[in-house]
């Protein structure tokens, strides 16, 4: 068990929530400013990806109402793209439901990771938070919480709603309504935004050898699974993401604790910088850091 990460289990939730002045952590305001900068980058990604989704839905025969229903009710990009293929292929709805369940199972890991941080948030709001929990919202919020060493509910909403939900839905609408005027959006490089954003977010979460090994393992497992195992098993190549996401961390845990201990314990300036998400830099005169 790493000693340099926020202790999620050693203090009552209420005490954690009020611990706004933990020595050595980034200030909430400063971290939130960084969060907003990061959210802008993610919003760009959501706009590009959502626009492509709207285009794809339009080409598949979805009405604007149906495309928007997918983006607001389902709000899961990869599953939405996959669903277009399922619908076009005439797949039965129970099969679509099963594949969607499988593809989105990774969210269970995200919610479990965020759960301890959100213990003090009223249950109805947590229920609403769950609907907007995405890859991006998870990465942005967990990075923000780590920096300040506590929960910041407003920070979660910024990461989930402002940077992803709103841009994604507006871009979906633009793509499905006005996308017909663009001959080939791939000429504009829109297709590269999503993987580039994912790798950038991953880099922001890597602060030690275990994360690094888990990241490499996740990719190294997901790709062969998608190429070889998924056709043999008759499942979607995208299930490789789930397999890589489940097994990758187990590989990361194989790194001995002595090697996993990083040189930037939480609470130091170096750690705050390393835990910071992409798009941010610590000012030299940042307050509250030793």
């Amino acid at each position: 068990m790493r000693e340099d990460v926020p202790a999620l289990t050693d203090a009552p939730a209420g005490e954690r929530a009020e611990d706004t002045a933990t020595p050595g952590t980034a200030s909430p305001d400063e971290s939130r400013r960084r969060l907003i900068v990061e959210a802008l980058g993610i919003a760009v990604s959501a706009i590009g990806f959502g626009f492509v989704y709207g285009l794809s839905a339009r080409e598949a025969g979805f009405s604007p109402l149906e495309a928007m229903a997918m983006s607001t009710i389902v709000f899961a990009g990869a599953a939405q793209f996959a669903a277009i293929g399922y619908v076009v292929a005439g797949l039965a709805w129970p099969a679509i439901a099963l594949l969607t369940l499988l593809l989105n199972a990774r969210h269970l890991l995200y919610s479990a990771a965020l759960g301890p941080w959100m213990a003090d948030v009223p249950r109805p709001r947590r229920a609403l938070m769950a609907h907007v929990l995405t890859d991006e919202a998870f990465a942005l919020s967990i990075g923000h919480f780590r920096r300040i060493g506590r929960t910041d509910e407003a920070g979660y909403w910024i990461g989930a709603i402002a940077s992803t939900f709103i841009p994604w839905n507006l871009a979906t609408l633009a793509g499905v309504v006005a996308g017909g005027s663009i001959a080939d959006p791939n000429v504009l490089g829109i297709d590269i935004i999503f993987p580039a954003a994912m790798i950038g977010l991953a880099a922001g979460l890597i602060s030690g050898r275990r994360e690094l090994v888990a990241a490499f393992a996740g990719a190294a497992i997901a790709v062969p699974w998608a190429l070889f195992a998924s056709p043999a098993l008759g499942v979607e190549p995208s299930t490789g993401v789930i397999v890589g996401g489940v097994v990758g961390p187990l590989v990361g845990l194989l790194v001995p604790a002595t090697l996993a201990a990083e040189g930037a314990p939480l609470g130091t300036r170096e750690s705050a910088e390393r835990f910071a998400m992409p798009g941010t830099r610590l000012d030299d005169d940042a307050e509250g850091l030793p």
Binding site: T9, V37, L40, G41, F62, L65, E66, A69, M70, V74, A76, A79, W93, A97, L101, N104, Y110, S111, A112, L114, G115, P116, R126, A130, L133, A139, N186, V187, G189, D191, I192, A196, A197, I199, G200, L201, A202, A203, L205, I206, R210, A215, G218, A220, I221, A226, L227, P231, P237, S238, V241, G244, G245, G248, P249, L253, M277, P278, G279, R281
Partner: protein, 115 residues
């Protein structure tokens, strides 16, 4: 305007929401064992890199098995990663990645992905 797929969206929501909500709403999950917490700390990097790797390395066709893809997308994503590490700026990294892909495709150095 067709609304036939709206019930499908509701079905997809019904199978997606539980995985999103369970960890946030289950009361016993706020005191996880240390080993579980250590595991969950690693989920984000593993899933995100898996998403990126599959997106740029695996191409699927309507009528055929997925194939391994090597292309300018690797360079673009690597450049984005480099910028993020160097400047800690995701937005700049995304712009660099897009620029690389656009230039490569416009000049014929890289082919457009299949529609």
């Amino acid at each position: 305007m067709s609304a036939e797929l709206i019930p499908l969206a509701v079905v997809m929501f019904a199978v997606t929401y539980p995985s999103r909500a369970l960890g946030l709403l289950a009361p016993r999950l706020d005191r996880l064992p240390k080993g579980v917490i250590a595991y969950l700390q690693l989920v984000g990097p593993a899933v995100l890199t898996a998403l990126a790797a599959v997106a740029i390395m695996v191409r699927t066709a309507d009528d055929g098995p997925p194939v391994f893809h090597i292309g300018v997308e690797w360079v673009a994503v690597a450049a984005c990663l480099g910028v993020v590490i160097w400047r800690r700026n995701l937005l700049l990294g995304l712009l660099v990645a897009v620029a690389i892909v656009v230039v490569a495709r416009a000049t014929g150095l890289a082919a457009l992905p299949p529609a």
